[in-house]
Chain length 221, copies 2
């Protein structure tokens, strides 16, 4: 469901039942409270009971919305990832693989704000990203999620190029290399003190442009 929203950029227009709307509100409240607490006092120092209490539901209810404490921390990441995947699918068919990935990245970073603000303030999303990068257990999960996203990206690339993903290693390889570059940019951004999305976008573009020179046999100083 979150997937569809992110891809189409719409919330289901019919208000549906009261029941359903209440569920959505509870879920959103849990996400917001959780991210607020995580960014304020840290992920580890926040207990599930605290989050539940802030929304005035029982701990058991929290675990009916999220499989575990980590999941709620990635709620807004989930949207962002879907958004990026959609951006790749929207790139023109003629584009070469790496160019398409590059284009999708810039497109996605340009329009991420709108896709997110339904769920959480973009600024909170950005602060949470920093928390993820600096919390070992969350970073681990984040890297696994990225790996899963990369698998989907590779399949899309294979589709675009009309290749069999199990026979040709190149789709997975571009994506893996691309992913590596993205991570370097993201990590550097986290370590800096510039908060804006634009900075991150430019940093990413800059690093992507360095792929060629980096693979040259001899590096010039």
């Amino acid at each position: 469901m979150t997937t569809d929203e992110a891809v189409a950029g719409t919330t289901t227009p019919p208000p549906a039942g009261l029941r359903e709307r209440k569920k959505q509100r509870t879920r959103a409240a849990l996400v917001r409270s959780a991210l607020e607490l995580f960014t304020r006092q840290g992920y580890e120092r926040t207990t599930v009971d605290e989050i539940a209490e802030a929304v005035e539901v029982s701990q058991r209810t929290f675990f009916r919305y999220f499989a575990n404490k980590e999941e709620v921390a990635f709620a807004s990441q989930e949207s962002a990832e879907c958004h990026f995947f959609a951006a790749l699918c929207a790139r023109p068919a003629g584009e070469a693989p790496l160019a398409a990935l590059r284009g999708a990245t810039l497109d996605a970073w340009g329009s991420i704000g709108g896709a997110l603000e339904q769920l959480v303030p973009p600024e909170l999303h950005m602060r949470m990203y920093r928390v993820i990068e600096s919390t070992p257990s969350l970073l681990a999960v984040h890297l696994r999620r990225i790996a899963e996203l990369e698998e989907r990206l590779a399949r899309e690339i294979a589709r675009r190029e009309g290749l069999d993903i199990d026979a040709d290693p190149r789709p997975r390889l571009v994506v893996a290399m691309f992913g590596g570059v993205i991570r370097v940019a993201g990590k550097l951004w986290t370590e800096g003190d510039e908060d804006s999305v634009v900075t991150l976008r430019d940093l990413t573009a800059f690093h992507l442009d360095y792929v060629g020179p980096t693979l040259a046999e001899k590096w010039d100083k």
Copy 2:
């Protein structure tokens, strides 16, 4: 301590005190029992109490040797990673970055057996690798550890090339791309049913040779 052993390939010759040797034995016993249990019945289905009981120590003692349940699962990986890092440091200074990484990989896979068997049977190490790749929580930690290793590799590459790691993105970029390729190879190996190290080494080499063609503007079919 494990680091030094792996790098130098030696166990501290003086037997040290009885106390110290007993500690080493307990530690090794915990690792072996843990990996045995993990590979036999799965990581999640193995409790810390079980591991402790198999070695006849208290649960509390287990947690004095390992910070958490995950750590013991990566004991042999730790050796392998150090071994690989040492292999990179041993590559001739003139070699280009990517070539050095490639060479180090093949060197390391060639000599990994000897470095490991002090701790666990290499065959157990390989089976454990599969468990890691197929257990979500372990995979996550594994990816984070790889990321940490990549940081060290990048610093070594920067040193070799006489570059400032914070000023030039290329060291981190090669390593990131390289890491991506390695992961693709490793994952494919896990999915196959060939168990041997040689297969993994060849698969890795094959994928590394594909980096060039993969980055070509247009892929030929």
